[in-house]
């Protein structure tokens, strides 16, 4: 086992695949971290981000997925009836039983001849759906598959998570490489049973597994997946113009980038957590949408997600000429971030249903 080559760890479809269309969504409300600190710590102590996005009272993972997917389809310019899978990754599906994906498929006119399903793997459910979509298209079973990662994350009031748990995400229409704005060359996953973060059924808020969050979970899985991917593809950090890592706070992705030899400039365009918070299933992939908004043909992008429980998916992505023709057909991710209404903690508690009314 020790001299096992990393080559066969790569997942590489026999038919080349890529991103035919992509779209982001961020709700317009922002809760500054200083507001949470004011309520719970008397305004003392550091805060992990500047502010986080908060969904409006009429928004949930289904409505946000619909808007991101509409943006992805606007960029792709294909007939929705050609899509054979709608997969939504989230840890905040509106129902415990009843798919989010059928609502999304219905709203986009993809029904009825399609796969539809909801995925859950903490913060990497969206990239899990992307890998499956690669297989679906790469095997030539389907021309197009829609993979979405979207969350309206909840943190217990006063908990460290409350500063960052936010809302947003992205949708990717996966299809043949020749129609793609960016080709996904290959992917690799690294997964173990690590109890860093979990939420039991019927519980409103998640729990942290003692001190598992940093080293044994986030850093171990991202660096292992990324390093194995770099080894298997015989590439190094300098071969990539951009990189995006799961972003639960401002500090972690910066540190993991440095450990892997990536510069802060390489991760800057995709590092959105300081201004929108941790969008969980959307976190790595919404960073990718912001990168695609500024990338040039030929640029190489490394994306590595992380989901608690725990695992990481690494992707090597190459931007094509087609991106320049397609990317202005939907609003840019930074336009969603610029659209901003600041709220206070009281408004936040009302919007997020934290007040007991009956």
């Amino acid at each position: 086992m020790t001299d096992k080559s990393t080559d066969n760890l790569l997942l590489k479809p026999s038919r080349p695949v890529g991103i035919v269309g992509y779209g982001a969504y961020v709700p317009r409300y922002r809760l500054p971290a200083s507001e949470i600190s004011r309520i719970w710590t008397g305004g003392t102590g550091g805060v992990p981000i500047q502010e986080k996005s908060v969904p409006g009272p009429d928004e949930d993972t289904a409505t946000m997925s619909i808007e991101a997917a509409r943006n992805a389809l606007a960029r792709a310019g294909i007939d929705p009836e050609e899509i054979r899978a709608v997969w939504v990754g989230s840890e905040s599906h509106p129902y415990a039983v009843k798919p989010t994906s059928t609502v999304v498929a219905e709203a986009l006119g993809i029904v009825p001849f399609t796969q539809a399903g909801d995925w859950e793997f903490a913060c990497k459910a969206g990239t899990e759906a992307m890998v499956a979509a690669m297989g679906f298209v790469g095997s030539e079973m389907a021309e197009y598959a829609l993979a979405i990662g979207m969350d309206t994350a909840q943190g217990r009031p006063g908990d460290a998570l409350e500063y960052t748990a936010s809302a947003g995400g992205a949708a990717f229409l996966i299809g043949p490489a020749e129609e793609s704005v960016a080709v996904i060359e290959s992917t690799l996953s690294y997964v173990t049973d690590t109890p860093d973060f979990f939420r039991r059924e019927y519980q409103k808020y998640p729990e942290h597994g003692q001190r598992f969050t940093g080293e044994p979970a986030y850093f171990k899985h991202i660096t292992s997946a990324a390093q194995a991917y770099l080894d298997a593809t015989d590439t190094v950090a300098e071969d990539y113009q951009y990189a995006v890592f799961h972003q639960p706070n401002t500090k972690f992705p910066g540190r993991v980038a440095a450990q892997l030899g990536f510069s802060q400039e390489q991760i800057a365009p995709g590092l959105l957590v300081p201004v929108i918070g941790n969008t969980y299933s959307g976190a790595a992939i919404i960073g990718l949408t912001a990168i695609l908004d500024v990338a040039q043909p030929g640029d190489q992008v490394l994306m590595v997600s992380f989901g608690s429980g725990a695992g990481s998916d690494a992707f090597g992505i190459r931007v094509t000429e087609r991106l320049l023709e397609r990317r202005d057909l939907a609003p840019q991710t930074q336009a969603y971030i610029a659209r901003r209404t600041e709220i206070d903690y009281a408004t936040y508690t009302r919007m997020r249903g934290k007040l007991v009314l009956k």
Binding site: D58, A62, T63, A74, E106, L108
Partner: protein, 140 residues
């Protein structure tokens, strides 16, 4: 309203799907299978662009059952760019002043829960928000 009715209305609610008259080209919303302009049969489906402008509006402070969580909120008559007028809630407006003629675009949002707020089926449908997020280019 009951679940079967929500189910029947989902196409028009989720994506603003109406009809176009094959005889006089009139765009019809909500769909009614008979053209209100020429009186002939009109069953061809037509998906509206979702763009329009506020024709008139009012703000509700005493919300009906099921909508209290959103009060106060504004309901508008929106004139779609294809012609028909629809009644819908405005969203994402905060304290912005609403004006007659204000450009708006359709979004699919949660309307309410059917029956019990915590246990009932979620009803999704169109609302309109100020048009502020436009793509930089239009499709061919």
């Amino acid at each position: 309203m009951e679940i079967p009715r929500h189910w029947r209305l989902k196409k028009q609610r989720y994506a603003l799907v109406g009809e176009v008259c094959p005889h006089c080209e009139a765009k019809i919303f909500p769909p009614r299978d008979v053209c209100p302009e020429c009186g002939d049969e009109a069953k061809t489906l037509f998906e509206f662009s979702g763009r329009g402008e506020v024709y008139s509006y009012t703000t509700l402070h005493n919300a009906p059952a099921g909508y209290q969580a959103y009060a106060p909120y504004t309901v508008a008559l929106v004139k779609l760019e294809e012609g028909p007028m629809v009644t819908a809630q405005l969203t994402d407006i905060d304290n912005q002043p609403v004006e007659v003629g204000m450009p708006v675009e359709m979004v699919t949002r949660k309307l309410r829960a059917e029956g019990d707020d915590d246990r009932g089926m979620l009803v999704y449908g169109y609302k309109f928000r100020p048009m502020e997020l436009q793509p930089l280019a239009a499709a061919d």
